[in-house]
Symmetry: C2
């Protein structure tokens, strides 16, 4: 197959992990006789530096034509004092909206080798394998009005949803559950929010289309508790944008492998933006220390979700597991009896497995 | 001193733990020569059953005249299918608003005897001692409009704040920090929400009035992570209503002692509503199994915050610690080498210590 991939390296360690992602994609293409082409564009702080905007028109144009997008990371202290519209994160929010990337998928899985680094007790976290399906282009993030009033004496933000926006993310969650353990936990705050009550109604309607999947409703405060006390309870969690932001970050630290977690953000055509969950880590940027595995696992999600390449994706995930099994890792990770290598060497070892 | 206390036993185990709270208050009055008078009123499901509303006028009237209010718990499956305005929680939301209980204080402290029940590793959680100061009468909980539009095709909720509402909760947080370890973490989502940007401005202004307190800003997603990875990092966390709901429940399970956690909700006159953090636990209601210690510690908060009785509060906290040290506990708690007793007996043992 021929696929065109837009790379958005971004800031900090973004360029390093993007290089790892590209090398791995190239290796997959070689082994499976695909043809992947690449082009790179600026986003975030890098784009502010070069184009005085966190999201240049060129970047958006290229992204809209791509089969998939890989993003490294955005942000850093260098741009922290700039006014709101010139902040690196605006690039990320902008591209989500402009490409209609409504479905953010964040799997959290325990790697047995890394469990000892978890803040949770081994027996609490060991069996964890969950997927958070977060609505990504609605809710408090984009609702209008969002403004100060009365000379700055009052302020409002708006949590707004169209019914159709809720329907498509709920469909996504049910479909994700169908290829997993077939259980959906829909998280809301229906005892307080009108939007949550509509959310619940949509879930109750939709469930009849997925009779093979069981579904339950859980309040967001209860979900925040249960993620800590019993993360293995969950299969698929679906929730609105802000709740998803909070819960997915909470979930990301449970298994002790934040440096390993991938993500995908999909639109209705299946085009996706893939990025590691970790940030731009400016403190270690440029030192070839960054862990490339979250990016490589994000590439596996790209192969699966945007290219329909199931076999290639599984092969890549197996390669990562193999390298971990051999004890190789970057310095962010503490692996008993393991060998610390540079980020580029770790990526090369994954490539060698392919 | 003479004090008049309104008791709102509510539902499930609410009446049992309220009785424990009352007995302890009576014991404090006897020992320190105070005169406490009591009156009981319905709220929540009990009020729905007796008055067809979760918050009868009588209850509000009495609460407004009280020096302090004790609430047991509200809710249960019996009332789960009723329409929104007839849900037990509406009683709780209503009384918060009508009494102007804007400041919810939720301390989370590790009890060494109970740490083994924590989902976190002992070394991660042992030193935890934090206070969440949650804004309780603004934000998404009460903002207007909150409604469906276009024949139910769209829905909005509104996150609204007055600057003065932010100022008073931020003042409360700084003042709480002054009698603790003098550090405030203000939690917001300033990279997305306009209300968070105003929140940050207010904190930046206010901090000059409290030069003895250090303050930092943290994004809500980062705070949700750090609560799990390093809860001992925090002293006072201050945040808006919905973030506070999520983070305080997340925090409540960290130390393995959810059955032990008290809370206070204060208004501008220092009148407060005190309640255990745990719910109404309908499954064990009426069996004298409920752990009264969260309620008893809520009484200690009442003595301190509404009555200015520091010594009495400390005496009561010491009594709870003493009973735990002797190994007595209810069945919800697992204490190695301890003795399981009924809820009423555990409360009696605390009373005996006073
Ligand atoms: C950078 C920020 C705006 C963003 C969000 O809140 O969505 C980030 O936290 C994320 O989860 O991708
Ligand atoms: C019952 C519910 C409305 C309430 C809230 O969300 O405030 C509860 O979760 C709490 O934290 O006291």
């Amino acid at each position: 197959m021929e696929k065109h991939i837009v790379l958005l390296p971004g800031d900090g360690i973004g360029p390093e992990v993007t290089k790892a992602a590209k090398n791995v994609l190239q290796a997959i293409a070689d082994r499976y006789h695909h043809s992947f082409t690449f082009e790179s564009h600026d986003i975030g702080g890098a784009a502010i530096d070069h184009h005085e905007t966190p999201l240049p028109e060129d970047t958006v144009k290229a992204a809209k034509k791509a089969d998939a997008i890989f993003l490294g990371a955005v942000g850093g202290p260098k741009w922290d004092q700039l006014p709101g519209h010139m902040r690196p994160e605006k690039g990320l929010l902008g591209i989500r909206k402009q490409l209609g990337l409504f479905a953010n998928l964040r799997p959290v899985k325990a790697f047995q080798q890394l469990l000892h680094a978890s803040p949770l007790k081994q027996e609490v976290v060991a069996a964890s394998d969950l997927l958070i399906v977060r609505e990504l282009t609605g809710g408090l993030y984009f609702g209008e009005p969002r403004e100060r009033r009365n000379n700055g004496k009052t302020v409002v933000d708006t949590l707004a949803y169209e019914r159709s926006e809720i329907e498509r993310i709920v469909d996504q969650a049910f479909q994700s559950a169908q290829v997993r353990r077939k259980h959906v936990t829909s998280v809301d705050k229906a005892n307080v929010l009108e939007s949550s009550r509509l959310w619940r109604e949509v879930v109750e309607e939709k469930k009849h289309q997925y009779p093979d999947v069981t579904v339950e409703h859980m309040l967001v405060d209860a979900a925040a508790m249960k993620l800590v006390t019993n993360p293995a309870y969950f299969d698929v969690i679906v929730t609105e944008n802000m709740f998803g932001d909070i819960l997915s970050d909470e979930a990301s630290v449970l298994t002790g492998s934040l440096g390993m977690l991938p993500s995908a953000s999909l639109n209705e055509r299946g085009v996706g933006l893939y990025e590691p969950v970790h940030g731009s880590a400016p403190d270690i940027a440029g030192q070839d220390k960054a862990n490339p595995l979250a990016s490589i696992l994000s590439v596996a999600m790209m192969l699966k979700h945007s290219f329909g390449m199931e076999e290639e994706a599984e092969q890549l995930e197996a390669a990562v597991q193999e390298v971990l099994d051999e004890g190789y890792h970057t310095a962010d990770i503490d692996l008993v009896g393991g060998t610390v290598v540079s980020g580029s060497e770790l990526a090369r070892r994954v490539v060698d497995q392919i």
